[in-house]
């Protein structure tokens, strides 16, 4: 089997399995992204390449990856390794204003830069047409321009590959589960990398149920709202199931069913809702507006959260038991759906130990 661009094409790109993480971009002249799609420009006949090796949908052994990140295999089957879980929010309004929920991610990254933990953060920025793309933020102001979500994946990791880099910076990355997975793949790859991935010292993962494909979604919004700029997109938790679109001073409500068709096919085989391969993961808290869930996974993540707490950058609260049970159930449900979708795929994009599969499928969703 080809483990270069040809393999990537036949297994990932041609099957619509690209997760739009950006790990394969700006490595070579053969792949480029434009308006939310990764595109092969020319044929490459190498039998092995970084594009395939870094891809979160090419050939992922989750057990081995967990071992490389945490020193232990795929054991914490519900939501990945958990050291601590809290509710948190940034008291400073500048973070919460633009943020999706409690402004935790922006506040943490700004603090990490301020405190010199990292010199650059790889974040996702959206342009006036909501097209997301990776960018390097080196100041709090730059971090703030990236706050908020458009529910569209945006080749974030391309910014890591593209640079420009001085060569010494320590780097933090904020990514979706597929991007965090790709980052772990990049770190673990035996190929000569020629990227600064080994200087990535902090990985903040985001919760994700699914993400949208930019081109059809942008087309849909344009048809609906014309060229008027959209300020914010927000999906309300069940039972509403609505997309709130802020256009000018008005908030329009669109039933989620109208946009489900734009969900990237690659999201269907995703086994990760909480960005399990991160130092620390951040998501919403169901039923608690303006708060975030924070799952601390590594010592580095713990260290960061403690500093944020002690400096008053974040305010935290104990996580309610019922909500934690609910979150775990949702995570398992996504894994079960993913495993079912993967069942009939011959050459699996992602593999798990059989034991983990059996346990996951036994779990009964609430």
């Amino acid at each position: 089997m080809n483990r270069g661009l040809k393999g990537l094409e036949s297994k990932v790109l041609d099957r619509g399995q690209c997760a739009a993480c950006g790990a394969c971009l700006s490595l070579c002249p053969y792949l480029r992204s434009w308006r939310g799609r990764a595109v092969k420009l020319h044929d490459c006949d190498l039998s092995e390449g970084r594009c395939f090796s870094f891809c979160p949908r090419s050939e992922v052994d989750l057990d081995a990856l967990h071992r490389s990140v945490f020193g232990k295999g795929y054991e914490d089957i519900e939501t990945g390794p958990v050291r601590r879980v809290v509710m948190a929010k940034a008291p400073a309004l500048e973070f919460r204003d633009k943020a999706q929920n409690g402004g935790v991610v922006s506040a943490l990254m700004a603090m990490a830069i301020d405190e010199g933990r990292i010199q650059a953060a790889i974040l996702t920025e959206r342009d006036a047409e909501l097209l997301p793309q990776g960018r390097i933020a080196e100041t709090k102001e730059e971090v703030l321009t990236c706050a908020g979500s458009s529910y569209v994946t945006g080749y974030t990791l391309e910014a890591l590959n593209r640079g420009p880099w001085q060569g010494e910076e320590r780097i933090g990355v904020v990514g979706l589960p597929c991007q965090v997975l790709a980052l772990a793949r990049m770190k673990a790859s035996p190929l000569e990398k020629r990227t600064p991935v080994d200087r990535v010292d902090l990985v903040v993962g985001l919760f994700c149920t699914w993400a949208l494909d930019y081109r059809p979604f942008a087309g849909f919004l344009k048809k609906r709202f014309g060229n008027t700029p959209i300020h914010k997109l927000d999906i309300t938790p069940p039972p509403d199931r609505l997309l709130h679109v802020t256009v000018g001073n008005e908030v329009h409500q669109i039933p989620l069913d109208e946009i489900r068709g734009f969900i990237r096919p690659s999201c269907q085989v995703c086994l990760d809702m909480t960005s399990e391969l991160s130092d620390l993961s951040v998501g919403t808290v169901e039923g608690e507006d303006g708060w975030n869930t924070v799952i601390v996974r590594t010592e580095r993540g713990e260290d960061l959260l403690r500093q944020a707490e002690s400096k008053g950058v974040l305010e935290t609260r104990a996580y309610p038991e019922d909500k934690w049970a609910h979150l775990k159930a949702a995570s398992i449900l996504k894994k079960q759906r993913g495993l079912k979708a993967l069942k009939d795929v011959q050459d699996k994009y992602v593999t798990l130990p059989q034991k983990a599969i059996d346990s996951l499928m036994k779990e009964v969703a609430p």
């Binding site: 070579c28 420009l41 020319h42 190929l191 000569e192």
Partner: protein
């Protein structure tokens, strides 16, 4: 001094067939000459333009063949001698006028030279133009040698005046482009007095009487054909096999008969006037043989006409066997060679003939493969079209809606192959890219979602793409025209055109600006330099995103060959061997494996790309595509 305008009667000089044709016209006292370039005919006007000043001629590169023929017909109507030349495709363009001109008749001698391209070596098609002589009831002459090319052209003018009809002279590549000895005759310098006799209007209409008159003229042409010295027979009185040939077939047949040593068995009937046929001469020789072979290039024109004649007289002639293209004895397509004729005769006459050892071909191939580098048909080093197609490929891939390029005639037609990254998906006639685009651009309402692009060169634009653009605007079509302005009619030899600011004879001319023309037609026009890959790709993508209307992207960059004649390299280019990633992930030989400019080569021993100093023209485009910035350019 012009080679063809030497005033040296009796002197024998070496001339290319096309030069011999030009000389024939000069010896006939031609005054007006016009053509649109097209191989293998281009050197006729090229030679005449060099003699224009000395001989006081009007010579022009017209925008297309129909206009060229009209320009020359005007001279004829005014009593002057005129010549227009074209390739086979050109006659298709001019045919509408020609098939009315035959009815209106001519005054001063009017000669239409058509150089066919058997095998389509430098054409999109293979076509036999002779059929037009039959359709149009026009006298057709086929020179077989270089001397005949001159002499028959000269004769064609007086024949035209005798009959009051245009006369067609049909050449082929190996007559037009080969060289041979030609004995010169006197060079007259007639004083021209142009005047259109308004008492004799030149009207094709009404066709009924004029068509009848035309047939009467053709009857008279038969008389000239019967006595023409360009029809002759060589061989025994009663040949075992009668070979009937014309044009280039004559030399091939002669060579085959001599090589096989069958001069006493085979009779050769060589015809120079192939329409109308010298019927009596042909019938006389048909009587003498039972087996007849036809050797001619492209279509079985002679073959069918002789068979038609035979059918008319078969009661007197008895049974015959005919061999030629219909029987498969002579291939129905591609160029004829002496070998093809030799091999056909060998089988029919049961003669053993071994011109060279059996393994000669394989040995020659082996030797050549070591010495001659394998080279695909492609763009020159530094050609702007390579950069253009690179941008097209990138833009269409990024756009991702299966957009496609409709092709046209010119160097950029090679966009259908590896050199243009297989981006061009159709190729037909001059201007057909824009015409097809005008049609594809209407198919949105029937579900076509693919972006439509057409390519068109500067010269081709003036030739036939302008009506398509007008049509597209008028009928509300949607497409992007890529106007590849390399400031030359490059493929046929850099002839000037209305955008270049000079005429066929080197005089200054107004520049008919492409941007102004396109804008005046209401198209959205943008100019870009194809060497700026990023800007060109962006411009294409921008045009592709907005599907409404007709947009023209003018890609302006002079032909690399034209530029290299005038100035030095733009850049000195070299490959930093340390930085070159070679075959490793991140490059995998993008420049030598994908971009493939002949100015770059792959050094197998070092595993790095290198610049071929002898070939590189210093365009610097490869420096733009190098992912490692290993290819570096410095202003030369």
């Amino acid at each position: 001094m012009s080679l063809v305008a030497q005033d040296a009667p009796g002197k024998t000089i070496l001339l290319m067939g096309n030069e011999a044709i030009a000389r024939g016209a000069l010896e006939a006292g031609v005054k007006v000459c016009a053509a649109y370039p097209g191989n293998p005919s281009s050197e006729i006007i090229g030679s005449l333009s060099s003699a224009a000043e000395a001989m006081d001629l009007h010579v022009e590169w017209s925008v297309n063949e129909k206009v060229a023929m009209e320009v020359v017909a005007a001279a004829s109507f005014a009593g002057l001698r005129g010549l227009c030349s074209m390739k086979q495709n050109g006659l298709n363009v001019a045919a509408d006028f020609l098939l009315n001109l035959n009815l209106s008749g001519t005054q001063g001698g009017l000669v239409v030279v058509v150089a066919d391209d058997p095998g389509g070596i430098s054409s999109t098609n293979e076509e036999d133009s002779r059929i037009f002589a039959k359709i149009g009831d026009l006298p057709l002459l086929e020179p077989a040698t270089f001397q005949e090319a001159k002499d028959m052209t000269k004769w064609a003018f007086s024949l035209s005046e005798d009959l009051g009809l245009p006369v067609m002279v049909r050449s082929v590549t190996r007559v037009s482009h080969a060289r041979g000895n030609v004995r010169l005759d006197k060079l007259p310098r007639p004083i021209a007095q142009a005047r259109f006799d308004i008492s004799r209007p030149r009207l094709a209409f009404p066709p009924f009487p004029s068509h009848k008159t035309l047939h009467q003229k053709l009857e008279r042409a038969k008389i000239f054909a019967e006595s023409s010295p360009y029809n002759f027979y060589r061989g025994p009185e009663k040949p075992e096999l009668l070979l009937i040939t014309s044009g280039s077939g004559w030399m091939y047949s002669l060579e085959a008969v001599i090589n096989l040593g069958v001069q006493d068995r085979v009779g050769l009937l060589k015809l120079g006037t192939t329409w109308p046929l010298p019927a009596n001469l042909v019938l006389e020789h048909l009587k003498q043989a039972e087996t007849i072979v036809f050797v001619e290039e492209v279509d079985p024109f002679l073959e069918n006409n002789v068979k038609e004649l035979f059918a008319q007289h078969c009661m007197d002639l008895g049974l015959k066997r005919f061999y030629g293209k219909a029987s498969g004895t002579i291939p129905s397509a591609g160029e004829i060679t002496p070998e093809i004729v030799t091999s056909a005769l060998q089988k029919m006459l049961n003669v053993r003939y071994q011109p060279r050892p059996e393994d000669y071909a394989s040995k020659a191939h082996e030797a050549a493969s070591e010495l001659v580098p394998a080279r695909a048909l492609g763009f020159c080093a530094g050609c702007p079209h390579r950069a253009t197609y690179w941008a097209v490929k990138t833009a269409l891939a990024l756009d991702g809606r299966e957009g496609f390029v409709l092709g046209d005639i010119g160097c950029y037609g090679l966009g259908m192959g590896p050199s243009g990254f297989y981006q061009m998906k159709t190729i037909h006639a001059m201007g057909s890219g824009a015409g097809l685009a005008a049609g594809f651009g209407q198919l949105g309402r029937f579900g076509l979602t693919q972006p439509v692009l057409a390519v068109c060169g500067d010269s081709t634009f003036y030739h036939a793409a302008m009506p398509a653009l007008v049509n597209a605007r008028y009928n509300g079509s949607h497409f992007v025209l890529l106007l590849l302005d390399n400031s030359a009619t490059a493929m046929t030899g850099f002839q000037p055109h209305p955008g270049t600011g000079r005429t066929a004879t080197g005089k200054e001319a107004p520049v008919l600006d492409l941007k102004v023309i396109c804008e005046s037609l209401g198209a959205i026009v943008q100019l870009t330099d194809p060497f700026d890959l990023a800007a060109t790709t962006d411009a294409m993508l921008k045009f592709l995103q907005d599907s409404e209307g007709v947009k023209v992207l003018i890609l302006k960059r002079e032909c690399a060959l034209v530029r290299s004649k005038k100035q030095k390299k733009l850049f000195e280019v070299e490959v930093d061997q340390e930085r070159c990633l070679g075959e490793t992930c991140g490059c995998n030989r993008l420049c030598t494996r994908v971009f493939k400019c002949p100015g770059l080569y792959w050094d197998r021993t070092t595993g790095k790309a290198c610049i071929d100093e002898a070939i590189c023209t210093g365009c610097g485009v490869c420096a733009e595509i190098c992912p490692a910035s290993a290819i570096q350019k410095e202003v030369a």
